[in-house]
């Protein structure tokens, strides 16, 4: 496929890929930050590249290579020398430039920046706003035009495998931006694992590749053996390579900074030919672009898989939080419905109110009724302990909500900590091991709203039902309290004869409610109040749970992006 896509289609595709690459990177980078890691910090070369490197590769590849190359197939070729430290990249660069342009050295690693050998206009293009090197920090590039071939930008990259992690990051970035790779390794190094990670990426990226095995043993059959072994390994790894060249050890030129002419002759000739032939350069550029476009698919697929894993992990953690909070909510609702909410004193106060003759007259009969009427005549109706009950409910129930949320948070945090990512996500958020500090206030507020809504329910019902006069003479709030207590104690079947002040209160309260509002209306109001309360408690716990959710990526976004990546691949 030497003929590129038509220009418009190409521009559109690159634009779309650019968008995908940016979004993938920002998603992965955000997640890294949530895990307490700096997404920009260079990774150790001895670690196998992970999601972060892949997302970065795609971004570098699209912005640093596809975009500039798609704009102009005739722009200079970017040729990069990549390889392990001490393999002789600088020495070869010098040989190709014909003078000392990159410092070779005994100390490892020697090169900590990249040396760009390019004619001034080519250099201006490469580092310009639309050039492939635009995003590389200027201080990491040294430019020289000595020995430059017009039309070719030769870049001596730093190593890919030393303890200087920055070097690898720069080499990776340069690799993504180039048309042609000269991979330089040595007879000692050629089976090292780390460089093979890089070679695998070169192959995936569909980049034209030349492999140079430097510092070969002097013996000719040994040399042949090594080269054959290298070729076999490349074949096994399915890495297409234009040519594998050997350069023997000790072939340093006595007079110059590079290798003897003979040793590097074949390399020099190749470069000279390219420099001289504009069409050959264009053909190579077109080939590289085609390879690069084809190479998007495997990378995009891997990133899509990375994102799916990310979404699965997030789902798993989120589900834990949901389960833990749901379980605690069930316990809380059981407590609430079982009447485990009210302190005895509060119940006792209400009991002496509903048990008072002046109140029981609403529902008693016979002699009790006469007595009640008399007492009321003499003493008047007693005030309902509305505030005390309301305060008791807000206090006790709010505490219970806090304790529940606290348990749920601890369970979730505990479960998350069993997972390395979960532990990392929580590392900077120790507060997630407990309920939020303001939960009690929020719970109290919500409970007050709940009581207010019961009161308006009672007022509305009272306005339509026969109990108007009775209800109002007792006060809307007292009516509301009867309903509220009904929610907590309305367990049905409780009779006053059964032991316990709570049961007795529930019984009296039930009678009072029925007398005030009628049985059907009472049931309706209690059901309504109970549902409303359950909703409110659920909302409170949901808000608590969302603190955990916020640490996780939005899986829908992640999955959508993953699907888009698969679609372009």
């Amino acid at each position: 496929m030497t003929e590129p896509l038509d220009a418009d289609a190409l521009t559109a595709r690159v634009g779309m890929l650019d968008d995908l690459a940016r979004r993938s990177w920002s998603l992965v980078a955000d997640h890294e930050r949530a895990l307490g890691r700096d997404p920009e910090a260079p990774a150790s070369p001895s670690d196998t590249p992970g999601p972060r490197q892949r997302a970065r590769e795609l971004l570098d590849h699209v912005e640093g290579y596809l975009a500039p190359r798609a704009r102009d197939l005739d722009a200079p070729l970017l040729v990069v020398l990549i390889g392990p430290t001490g393999s002789g990249k600088s020495t070869i660069t010098n040989t190709l430039a014909g003078s000392l342009v990159s410092e070779p050295g005994v100390l490892r690693p020697t090169t900590r920046h990249a040396v760009v050998v390019a004619a001034p206009p080519d250099h201006a293009w490469a580092t310009g706003a639309d050039g492939p090197l635009a995003a590389i920090p200027a201080e990491r590039l040294r430019h020289t035009s000595t020995g430059a071939r017009p039309g070719i930008v030769l870049v001596d990259a730093p190593d890919i495998d030393s303890v200087e992690h920055d070097n690898r990051a720069l080499a990776d970035a340069l690799l993504e931006r180039s048309d042609l790779c000269l991979f330089v390794t040595t007879a000692t190094r050629y089976a090292d694992r780390v460089p093979w990670d890089v070679l695998a990426r070169i192959a995936e990226r569909g980049m034209p590749l030349l492999v140079v095995v430097n510092r070969m043993p002097p013996d000719a059959s040994d040399q042949e053996h090594v080269l054959a072994d290298v070729r076999a390994m490349l074949e096994r790894a399915a890495i297409p390579v234009e040519v594998v060249l050997g350069i023997p050890e000790g072939a340093l030129a006595a007079d110059g900074p590079g290798l003897t002419g003979a040793a590097a002759a074949s390399l020099t000739t190749r470069l000279d030919t390219l420099a001289a032939d504009r069409d050959a350069r264009r053909a190579l550029a077109a080939r590289a672009l085609a390879g690069a476009l084809a190479g998007i698919a495997p990378l995009a697929t891997s990133i899509a898989a990375d994102l799916e894993t990310l979404a699965e992990d997030a789902d798993r953690l989120r589900l834990r939080a949901v389960e833990d909070h749901a379980q605690e909510l069930v316990l809380l609702l059981e407590r609430v419905n079982g009447g485990d909410v009210l302190r005895g004193e509060v119940v006792a106060q209400w009991h002496s109110f509903v048990g008072a003759d002046q109140v029981t007259r609403w529902f008693s009969s016979g002699i009790g009724r006469v007595r009640a009427a008399l007492t009321t005549l003499v003493r008047g109706a007693p005030p309902a302990p509305v505030t005390a009950v309301e305060r008791g409910v807000t206090d006790d129930l709010a505490s219970l909500v806090v304790a529940t949320a606290d348990d749920a948070a601890r369970r979730t945090a505990d479960h998350w900590s069993a997972d390395p990512d979960g532990m990392a996500l929580l590392a900077d958020h120790p507060a997630l091991w407990a309920a939020s500090p303001d939960l009690r206030e929020r719970a109290a507020l919500s409970l007050r709203e709940w009581m207010a809504s019961i009161a308006s329910d009672v007022a509305a019902t009272g306005a339509t039902k026969r109990g108007v006069a009775r209800g109002l003479s007792l006060g809307v709030n007292a009516g509301a309290v009867t309903i509220m207590l009904g929610v907590f104690a309305h367990t049905g079947g409780i009779t006053g004869a059964e032991a316990g002040i709570a049961a007795a209160t529930a019984y009296l309260n039930q009678k009072l409610m029925n007398a005030l509002f009628g049985e059907a209306a009472v049931q309706e109001m209690i059901d309504h109040a109970r549902d409303d309360l359950a909703d409110r408690l659920r909302t409170l716990l949901d808000e608590e749970r969302r603190r955990f959710d916020r640490l996780l990526p939005t899986v829908d976004t992640v999955r959508a992006l993953s699907a888009e990546l698969r679609a372009v691949a």
């Binding site: 150790s44 001895s46 490892r108 190094r189 694992r193 005895g344």
Partner: protein, 541 residues
């Protein structure tokens, strides 16, 4: 070092590791680093201690096999241009130890054994105590090679890290191997091979660069041995012959490995500082949490209610002995209703504390305090600390504490009585008699229609007053006054009794909260202190 002290050292290490593993388990940390280190020490103790295994470890092609061959003066291990060459380890064993080393080498992952004949009789043999182990490479595409190295490194006694001018700054060597293993080894050296490939002018520079890098990695004292397998191996020979004893090598290595494992655990627990770890809660914070919890527990127990009950009960008792007729009648009537049982039964009221609410809110102050302390802990140590505030556990322990207190001696003390009450009772009888007499007198007067001799008595202000009326007045005032007196007195006594009991409950609950609610936090604090102690080798106090 003698046998005895060598053995003692291993025992001490094992003891520290075992205690660290215990503490780690309490702290919810993975104890495996400690148990594994202990397992290695135990296993190594079963193999010969009078010789040590020195592994040659490094990247492929740096010349490990060539060095072994050069030392032996023989082709013991394959070398070649093909990378990687060495797949299986080769051990160069002093002939005298041939039999004893077999199991040791098997434990190290197996090796092809090459025997080294005893040196000429006269000269002391510098290698008499060393088994040299040529390992496969640690950096090639052959992952199984690195796996063999990884399996052997925790068990070998000493390591020569072999590298060359090309590979000495490799990430794999430094980031993967030195970073992990150098701190766990006592006898080790950095062998810079192939120095014949650099000019003699460059060599010192190279050496300095290696030294600088090692210093940067906190390994300033690691010897650097520039050698050439194809030439000068003196630096390595000299180091091998520097007179160490195998027993010391083995013991020091175990000491380092154990110390590193302990340090890792200490770091995970956040107890790696020079000072003993602070308890999770400061004394003030702890005090405040206990006070708040105690208050919340007493709120459920219901001290106000208790006081009311105590007063009611005392009143009842007082009325029984010193009440007037009416009071007695009321008492009799009340008896059937169950009211006294409910309202005037302080002990029963205490025992029924569970009916009055849940202890869950009472656990909040303790848990809030613990949660606050978590931020200072490393993430891995937070779970176990947070678990000490586990709601169910706390509630159960608090409930048990309350039960113990409400059934304790203070709560079962008898209700107060007074000797004044029967006297008041006598007064009540007299007053009642006066009342009845007065009323009877008046009734009789009306009935007979005649003027009974109703001697008028001259009172200071009221003037003359008929006797019957006076008796009625005395009766009413007396009954009322004496009842008033009785009730006040009973209230005082009952109130005081309740206050005493409340004070006892308060201290009882506070002590119980301190001892039980924060009990597992105490165990947690102790485990951290223990980990700190064993990691720093501080004798336990």
């Amino acid at each position: 070092m003698t046998d005895a002290s060598g053995l003692a050292a291993a025992d001490v290490l094992l003891d520290r590791l075992v205690r660290a593993a215990e503490a780690a388990t309490t702290l919810g940390l993975d104890p495996i680093p400690a148990t594994e280190a202990a397992a290695v020490i135990r296993a190594r103790g079963g193999f010969p201690g009078d010789l040590y295994v020195l592994a040659l470890a490094g990247g492929t092609g740096v010349g490990k096999s060539s060095i072994l061959n050069a030392l032996a003066g023989d082709d013991l291990s394959d070398t070649g241009v093909q990378r990687p060459t060495t797949t299986h380890a080769v051990a160069w064993v002093p002939a005298a130890h041939a039999d004893a080393t077999g199991p040791l080498l098997d434990w190290l992952g197996g090796a092809t054994v090459r025997l080294r004949p005893a040196a000429d009789d006269a000269a002391p043999d510098p290698l008499a105590q060393v088994v040299l182990l040529d390992l496969p490479d640690l950096d090639s595409v052959a992952a199984e090679h690195a796996a063999r190295v990884d399996a052997a490194l925790p068990r070998v006694d000493a390591v020569a890290w072999v590298s060359d001018p090309e590979k000495y700054a490799d990430s794999v060597l430094h980031d993967r191997y030195l970073a992990r293993w150098a701190s766990r080894l006592a006898r080790q050296a950095f062998v810079l091979n192939k120095t014949d490939r650099v000019t003699s002018g460059d060599l010192p520079m190279l050496r300095d660069d290696v030294a600088a890098r090692l210093a940067q990695e906190h390994l300033p004292s690691m010897p650097i041995l520039p050698v050439s397998a194809h030439g000068d191996l003196d630096a390595l020979r000299g180091w091998l012959a520097d007179g160490v004893h195998a027993r010391d090598v083995v013991r020091d290595r175990q000491g380092r490995a154990a110390t590193a494992a302990l340090a890792d655990l200490a770091r995970a627990a956040g107890t790696d500082g020079p000072l003993p770890p602070e308890p999770l809660l400061t004394a003030d914070r702890r005090r405040a949490a206990i006070d708040a919890t105690t208050a919340a527990v007493l709120d459920v127990v219901g001290l106000t209610g208790l006081r009311a009950q105590a007063i009611a009960a005392t009143r009842q008792a007082a009325r029984g002995q010193g009440g007037g007729l009416l009071a007695r009648i009321r008492g009799l009537l009340d008896r059937g209703t169950g009211r006294p049982e409910r309202l005037a039964d302080p002990q029963g009221y205490l025992l029924r504390w569970r009916d009055r609410g849940s202890l869950v809110p009472a656990t909040l102050p303790v848990r809030a305090a613990i949660a606050e302390g978590l931020a200072a802990l490393p993430p891995a140590a937070r779970g176990a600390a947070a678990a000490t505030g586990d709601s169910d556990g706390l509630v159960t322990r608090l409930a048990a504490a309350v039960d113990r207190t409400v059934t304790g001696p203070a709560a079962s003390a008898p209700l107060p009585t007074s000797r004044a009450w029967p006297l008041i009772g006598l007064g009540q009888v007299l007053a009642t008699v006066a009342l009845i007499t007065g009323v009877a007198w008046i009734v009789a007067g009306f009935a007979t229609g005649s003027q009974l001799p109703a001697a008028a008595i001259d009172l200071p202000i009221l003037g003359g007053m008929p006797m019957p009326a006076l008796l009625v007045l005395i009766g009413i005032l007396g009954t009322w006054g004496l009842s008033w007196l009785l009730v006040r007195h009973a209230d005082r006594l009952g109130g005081r009794w309740a206050d005493r009991l409340a004070a006892d409950l308060r201290t009882g609950v506070a002590d119980a909260v301190d001892a039980t609610a924060l009990g597992s936090l105490g165990a947690w604090d102790a485990a951290r202190r223990q980990l700190w102690q064993v990691a720093r080798d501080v004798p336990a106090t």
